[in-house]
Structure formats: C-alpha cells, structure tokens
C-alpha cells in the first residue's frame, strides 16, 4: 500500500489471508451493512446516497443518488438493477480486483442498492474475458444464498432479490449502458438513442433500470456504514469518497491505488506512488482516464479561473487527482485508467494503436462512427508503415472532427478525442514523420514503381 493511500473499497484486498470466500468476508464484518440497510426505509437509503455525493465510477462521473432519483417508481413495472462489470476501457483494471478478490463486497453493495431502488432482480454484466471472475461471482452468489443474504425473504424480511451473472462475449460497446441492456435482452448490443431510452425510465425489458459500475455499487455499502453526510466529508467538494486509480504504461510500479478525492496530484501519483519512470527516461504524455480521454502533454500549461474566481496556471504534474482536478486540463478522469508514456514513445504509432481499438469496437450503427473510426485507423496504420504524407495530420483532424455529436452514443467522442488531442498536441511529430518518410521514399520513386494513387 502506497503512503497516504486511503483504502476503503480495497481495504481487505491483497491483505495476507484475505480469501474471496464468504467465511472470510463474514469475519471482516461482512453483510452487517445489509442487515442495517434492511432495517431502514428504501427512500431513506436513497437519500443517504444522494447526500454522500458519490459520483459514478464507470466513466461519466454522474452522481449516483441523482441517477437513482430519476427512477420511475410509478410505472407499475418491475425495476431492475444492473452492475456494469464489463471493464473494457483500455487502461482500466480495478473492477477485476474487486470481482476476483472481494466478490461479497460487490454483492453486499448490490443487495443494499437493489433494496433501496426496490429491485427484486439484479444482473451482473461481466465481460466475456473474465471467465474466472464469473465463476467466482457465481460461487459467491450461492454462498450468499445459503446464508439467506440473497433469494426469497432475505434475513426474514419481506425483501426478495436474485442476482444473475450475464457474461459478455468480447465487445467493448457492451460497456455502454444501453448497449449492455440490449445485450442482456439477447440482441446485438446496439446502444439506444437517448431520449427516449433513459434506462431509469425505459431500460431493461423497457422497465425502469439502474446501471452502475462495480466500484460505485461497492461504495453504497460504505455509505450505509458511515451515513451520507460522514461519507461526504471524505475527499473534497464534488469529489467525495475515494477513487481507485489504475496506472499502467511507462512507470516503475504500475498498479491500482485508492485515494481520497483531491488527496494528491497527478505528479505525486506518477513519481511518488508509482516510482516514476525508468532511469534515463522523461515524461512525454499522460492519458488520464482510459484511452478514450484526451491526451495530456508533459509540458502543457492549464490556465483559467476556478469557481471562486482565482486564476490558476498549472502544469500536468500539478493537476489534482479527482474528477474536477483532472477536468481542469480539458480532459477527463473517465474510468480512472492513467496511462503513462515516456520519451521513447512514437506518438503516431501510439495513436495508431488506440485508433485500431476503436475501429474494431464500433458497433456500426452510426455512419460517422463506423466509417470515421475505420478511416482513422487506416490512415494511421499507413503512416506507421512508412507511407505518411504531410497532409495526413489535417486529414486525421478533419475525419475526427466530423464524428462527435453526430452519433447515438458517446463512443463517437471516445473514438475522436484521442485523434483530435494527439494531432493538436503532437502535430510536429506527425509532420516530422511525413517529412522523414518523404525524404526516405524519394529514391524509390525514381525506380520502376509507378504511383497509381
């Protein structure tokens, strides 16, 4: 555990002797908060979650209490809870830790949440590449059932709840909540257009549905334990509670670390917590929230005025590590996946790698996304393979600029933001690549090869 980490969700994870079985969990006070919650009224629990200010940990950072308040309780239809355990955003690996090492914490968080939103059927949508995780959660569910924490008339109350595990099959778009819902319905996971298909009103089987991330649902247990107001004292305003950050790439100690909102800076995370870079290397760029988020350049300055009107002028390493602190940079903390790139990284190839992901994962419903993501990948692969042209950097920008805001789901932004930010911030590298390659290509052009395009 790194210095000044505050582990709430990860508290027991990786502690010696902490197994993922129910006996271990019970020894550590497991399911006590479920008992406590079942003694309260659902509306009071929802109020506590609202007071806690907890924001969703899946990507968008939307306040969970507010999301729950949009639920249509009057429709007369069943209400569903869905745990988003698709964890597919490149650079993100926190939910895997919880699922594998502390599955009962997730179940307890889910059962409390289900009770609070009056759902009697809940799903865990787990990505297909977590077969072991799916088995662990299935076993945990059976263990919880044996002890009557789950199933009919939980702990002698009138509340019944089932949790089903639904496995994905390798498609990133299933992480988008309406695509996920379609996938549970047994259809192609095509995201739905909002409005009208806000899950809180028209979700799974066209019934009111709440979709929350694994980490978000775990937090609910701790909100019940502390009370919403106490929980809200952790971290800073608008960034309450802790957050798990996943650090990967060119740092000496990549891993997952949990901090209170605003406790440290991005620079402290990279250098103090993760041991900095390899000897002799320097920092080139950071992707702060999974590969969909805009990249930050190591020597960028971020200037503006805060909510109290005070001017700030910050470097990348000064950015405060939480939702609002990272947002100051014009990028977002997304899923908490921090990817660190040192000076050995070729930015054209890095972007080609990222764009290849989005071209592969576009669901294909919207033309700008389907066609645009493929074009971006093709241009970037061509550039990486020695066929870069001077005009490519503008071509990339022009294709990327035509995607966001013209698509059904936020995947369009996810595909465009990396391209827009890399070409804006590392433009000289894209140009240099073209110049180098043009210089190297000249002798070839005088040979037998005749260019046809």
């Amino acid at each position: 555990m790194a210095a000044n980490e505050r582990r709430i969700i990860l508290k027991n994870i990786d502690q010696p002797g902490y197994g993922n079985d129910i006996d271990t969990y019970l020894k550590h006070g497991g399911y006590e908060m479920l008992k406590k919650a079942l003694g309260s009224r659902p509306e009071d629990l929802r109020e506590e979650v609202k007071k806690s200010g907890v924001r969703g940990r899946g990507g968008a950072g939307f306040p969970a209490g507010m999301k729950w308040s949009f639920l249509d309780f009057k429709s007369g239809k069943p209400i569903y809870l869905v745990c988003n355990a698709d964890e597919s955003e490149p650079g993100t690996f926190k939910d895997r830790q919880i699922i594998h090492k502390d599955p009962h914490q997730l179940l307890e968080g889910m059962l409390i949440s289900a009770y609070a939103i009056k759902a009697e059927l809940a799903f865990i949508y787990i990505r297909g590449e977590f077969p072991e995780g799916a088995r662990i959660v299935e076993r945990a569910i059976e263990e919880a059932r044996q002890k009557n924490f789950l199933g009919k008339g939980i702990l002698g109350t009138a509340f019944s709840c089932e949790i089903r595990v639904h496995r994905g099959a390798g498609a990133y778009i299933c992480g988008e909540e309406t695509g996920l819902i379609e996938s549970i319905e047994g259809k192609r996971p095509y995201p739905r257009i909002k409005p009208p298909y806000f899950p809180a009103a028209l979700g799974l089987y066209m019934c009111p549905t709440i979709v929350n991330n694994v980490e978000t649902l775990c937090n609910v247990k701790h909100i019940v334990e502390m009370g919403g107001e106490e929980y809200a004292k952790i971290g800073r305003h608008g960034n309450t509670g802790t957050r798990i950050w996943c650090v990967s790439g060119h740092v000496r100690k990549p891993g997952y670390y949990e901090f209170e909102g605003g406790a440290i800076t991005l620079g402290e995370l990279i250098y103090d917590v993760c041991g900095g870079l390899q000897p002799g290397r320097s920092l080139k760029a950071v992707i702060p929230g999974g590969s969909s988020m805009k990249i930050l350049r190591a020597d960028e300055r971020f200037k503006g005025k805060d909510r109290d009107g005070n001017a700030y002028d910050l470097g990348l390493e000064d950015l405060i590590l939480d939702f609002d602190g990272i947002a100051v940079s014009g990028s977002l903390s997304g899923s908490g996946g921090v990817m660190v790139l040192d000076d050995t990284t070729d930015m054209v190839e890095a972007l080609a790698n990222v764009s290849s992901f989005y071209a592969h994962e576009s669901c294909g419903q919207c033309t700008p996304c389907r066609e645009g993501s493929l074009w971006l990948k093709k241009i970037l692969e061509r550039m990486s393979r020695g066929q870069a042209r001077l005009e490519d950097v503008d071509l990339l920008k022009s294709v990327a600029d035509q995607i966001p805001g013209r698509t059904i789901c936020a995947f369009g932004e996810a595909a465009a933001w990396p391209v827009q930010s890399y070409v804006a911030k590392f433009r000289e590298e894209f140009i240099a690549k073209a110049e180098e390659q043009a210089a190297g290509r000249k002798p070839q052009e005088t040979g037998e090869r005749v260019a046809l395009v």
Binding site: A169, P254, T345, F357
Partner: protein, 168 residues
C-alpha cells in the same frame, strides 16, 4: 438437426437451467451460445438453428450475435486458443513481440491456427490487466508479464500438453 446436437449431458442440463433464469427467453441467447461453444468449440449453422428453436427465435437472431461478438466463432479453431493483448499499455510493454514469439513457437505463422489444428494464436483487445502486461490468455487462464522468453516457455508447456489449455 438432432434433438440434442450431440451436446454433452452436462451442457444440456445447464442449458435447461439457464433459460428460466431470465424474465424473457431471448435473454438466454448469449449464455446458450457460450455453453454450446464451450462444448463444441464453435457454433455451427445447425447449432444456431437449434439455439433459435430452443428460444422460439429465428436463426437470424442467433446468427447476428455470432457475427457480432468477437468471442463467438462460426468456424472451428484450435483446441487451445491463445489471445495476446495488443492494446496500448501491453503494446508499450512489447506485446507485439510476444505475439510473434508465440506464433513462431506454436507454428501459427501462416494464419492464426497451426496446421495440425491444435492451437490458435490471435490478438485481443485490452484484457483489463494492463499493469501486469504483456498479458496473454490461454483458454480461460491469464498469464501476466509475458515477454518473449516467457512466451516461448508457455509455448513449450502447451506443446507438451502441460499448459492450462490442455484440458480444453
């Protein structure tokens, strides 16, 4: 189309168990596809028709899932499927070299599957273990920190039937 598609008894039992777990039958499509693929290695056209009939759907409703989801296969593949993460964090740590080493050592250079049909090597997208990259999955098991040397060791284990994939 035979009544049971030559599926193992265990698979048939699990199929009958999973369908009523959902409020609507159609939701069982993906679980059934997983079960059939685990049993037979891939989803044949007959299997798609069989699943469709089981769920009161048209075959196209199943076919469109098989063509969409990367993990579902409509053709036989190697008994052991080796998936190498090629996404950025793993790539920064050398996963492209890892993949080449695996392809070479497992005789999968021409096409993804070895000529004897034993092993398939393919790229996968981020497997959510970016801090321990390069990561590789062999059937259901995750291997971490797989550099070229480790890749050749894993290939050796698979060849001699000791690897995790041997049972699959």
């Amino acid at each position: 189309m035979s009544q049971t598609m030559n599926l193992k008894e265990e698979t048939l039992r699990r199929i009958d168990e999973v369908i009523p777990r959902y409020p609507q039958k159609r939701s069982a499509a993906l679980p059934l596809l997983h079960l059939v693929q685990e049993d037979q290695g891939y989803i044949s056209p007959e299997a798609m028709e069989w699943i469709a009939a089981k769920l009161d759907l048209e075959p196209i409703n199943i076919w469109e899932l098989v063509t969409f989801y990367p993990m579902l296969r409509d053709k036989p593949v190697g008994k052991k499927v080796v998936r190498v993460c090629r996404t950025l964090s793993c790539a920064l740590q050398g996963s492209y070299k890892t993949c080449s080493a695996l392809r070479e050592a497992l005789n999968c250079e021409n096409g993804d599957t070895s000529p004897d049909g034993e092993v398939t090597v393919e790229f996968a997208e981020c497997l959510a273990s970016c801090h321990t990259g390069p990561v590789v999955m062999v059937n259901d098991d995750l291997y971490e920190h797989v550099d070229e040397k480790r890749a050749r060791e894993i290939a050796g284990e698979l060849d001699s039937g000791k690897g995790s994939g041997a049972a699959g």
